[in-house]
């Protein structure tokens, strides 16, 4: 019964994040090609003069977005680790580090994946994240504070959560999403500057003849989308990230078969109120708990949060546990 709950949760999470990702790509496509479509409708019936048939805006946008996303893809993991000042754990120097190394090995076995590279962030606030392109090139990073705050079972639960991100290819998805958001923000800025300049030039042409009403609607909608694109794209990325957190909690619990330990670990991490200073804003959505100082709960705050409320995560984990761990 509990098992089916867990697998149902996984399936539901996967479906939702698939749709969100599809929506994200469609949104990006609309930003690129919507303008082309509007201009095409507007100039389709023109007897003479310019007819917009080549989707130039879309082509340029796709190229720029592709370049930005590729850069985030190829260099992202390296930059994330570097910005957090993480040090790779090669030779365990203390009992804590030995334990961490062993726990990562254990979870790699449980998930049937190669052991990821292990990094330690010199920060006293407990937090952890994973990054990388795919399971064979994955990294797990934890803070000093995490090693000190958690017992063995809780550490295992946190590492299982990170291994779940790796196994579910969240590390890839989140790296790509960060790239896409970056590209959209860049393009939106570019367009706004272009329109401010181009609007004056185009103004003279209008009034010559009645424009196609459909074209006007399409172009208006496109312009409005451009203006709100940075906000909407960030909200969508955060929504994907929140769903993946639930999924990673569920998969992590499947690996350790001990959801209670993760629930306890999350409560401990939530209780540590200080911000994880060494983790920058761009990496926030990769961490096991939001590294920001204090989180806004409810309403709009939750829309922009990279993580679901801890209380909700703990509640779902406890619902999976058949009995409190001995």
């Amino acid at each position: 019964m509990t098992e089916s709950n867990l697998f149902e949760q996984q399936a539901a999470n996967r479906r939702r994040s698939t749709w969100l990702t599809v929506g994200f790509v469609a949104f990006t496509g609309w930003i690129g090609f919507g303008g082309d479509w509007g201009l095409y409708l507007l100039t389709r019936d023109a007897v003479e003069g310019y007819r917009h048939v080549v989707p130039g805006i879309g082509a340029v946008f796709t190229a720029i977005a592709g370049a930005v996303a590729w850069h985030a893809w190829a260099r992202g993991p390296e930059q994330v680790l570097k910005s957090a000042a993480a040090l790779e754990l090669l030779e365990a120097a203390s009992p804590d580090q030995m334990r961490l190394n062993n726990v990562v090995e254990e979870m790699a076995i449980a998930s049937g994946l190669p052991k990821p590279r292990v990094w330690i962030i010199p920060d006293s606030d407990p937090n952890a994240f994973s990054t990388g392109q795919d399971p064979s090139r994955a990294h797990v990073a934890v803070t000093d504070g995490l090693l000190r705050a958690l017992d063995r079972d809780e550490l295992q639960a946190v590492i299982a959560h990170e291994m779940a991100h790796i196994r579910n290819y969240d590390i890839r998805l989140l790296t790509l999403l960060a790239g896409m958001v970056g590209a959209i923000v860049l393009l939106s800025d570019l367009c706004r500057n272009f329109l401010r300049f181009g609007g004056r030039v185009g103004g003279r042409r209008s009034g010559k003849r009645d424009a196609n009403p459909v074209a006007i609607v399409v172009l208006t909608v496109w312009l409005i989308t451009l203006l709100v694109a940075p906000i909407v794209s960030r909200m969508m990325a955060m929504a994907v990230s929140r769903k993946r957190e639930f999924l990673a909690d569920a998969t992590g619990a499947q690996l350790t078969r001990n959801p209670e330990a993760l629930a306890r670990a999350l409560e401990k991490l939530d209780g540590a109120s200080a911000a994880t200073r060494s983790i920058t804003k761009g990496t926030a959505h990769m961490c096991i708990v939001d590294p920001a100082e204090r989180r806004l709960h409810g309403g709009l705050g939750d829309r922009f949060a990279s993580h679901p409320p801890i209380g909700e995560r703990v509640r779902r984990l406890r619902a999976m546990a058949f009995a409190p761990a001995a």
Partner: protein
């Protein structure tokens, strides 16, 4: 026209059969690989035990029976063949080790030496790795067993030479009651 439809159905059927066959072979190899993972961890445990005995021998010399039980359980486990027999022998070894650990709690000076704390962490981790490798093996084996019995893949199972993989069951009632032998070692090492 009718010929074409029959031919089309035949082509689809052949492609499906190839896919199902390859799927079963892939699953079978995953089961074999998971079994190898258990093997690796069991070997590691067997290698660690002489070390452990050597370290605690001095302080616990009058617990000779317990020490000897561990050694003989280890030797029996090394010789075991097949899933069921290995599972049984390893279960006994886990129990023997559990008794040794429980007794070692009575020797505080033993725990005080860093060497023992390190060995304990290693053994705890190895026990966990065995448990997780076993879990992975059972999950993969269940997936494989389910697939080869489900319709329509079961039509191909004979051709792919698929037979149900044996699950690693815990034979011993005592071990089932206390699935973790590392109780009390979950605390971070004190050294």
């Amino acid at each position: 026209m009718g010929m074409l439809i029959v031919l089309g159905i035949l082509v689809v059927a052949v492609f499906w059969a190839i896919g199902a066959y390859n799927g079963l072979i892939a699953l079978k190899n995953r089961v074999l690989n998971a079994w190898k993972q258990i093997d690796v961890q069991l070997k590691r445990r067997h290698d660690l035990i002489p070390n452990l005995i050597e370290t605690v021998k001095g302080a616990m010399s009058f617990e000779r029976e317990t020490l000897e039980a561990v050694i003989s359980a280890r030797n029996k486990a090394i010789g075991a063949q097949g899933v069921a027999a290995t599972a049984k022998a390893e279960g006994e070894l886990s129990q023997a080790l559990g008794r040794l650990f429980a007794l070692s709690e009575n020797y505080p000076d033993l725990k005080a030496t860093g060497n023992v704390a390190q060995l304990q962490e290693e053994l705890t981790s190895t026990e966990n790795k065995i448990a997780f490798a076993r879990q992975l093996y059972n999950d993969e084996a269940t997936l494989y067993n389910t697939k080869q019995l489900q319709f329509p893949t079961n039509l191909i199972a004979g051709i792919a030479n698929a037979s149900p993989a044996e699950l690693w069951a815990i034979e011993d009632a005592a071990e089932r009651a206390v699935p973790k032998v590392d109780l009390g070692f979950n605390k971070p090492p004190t050294a």
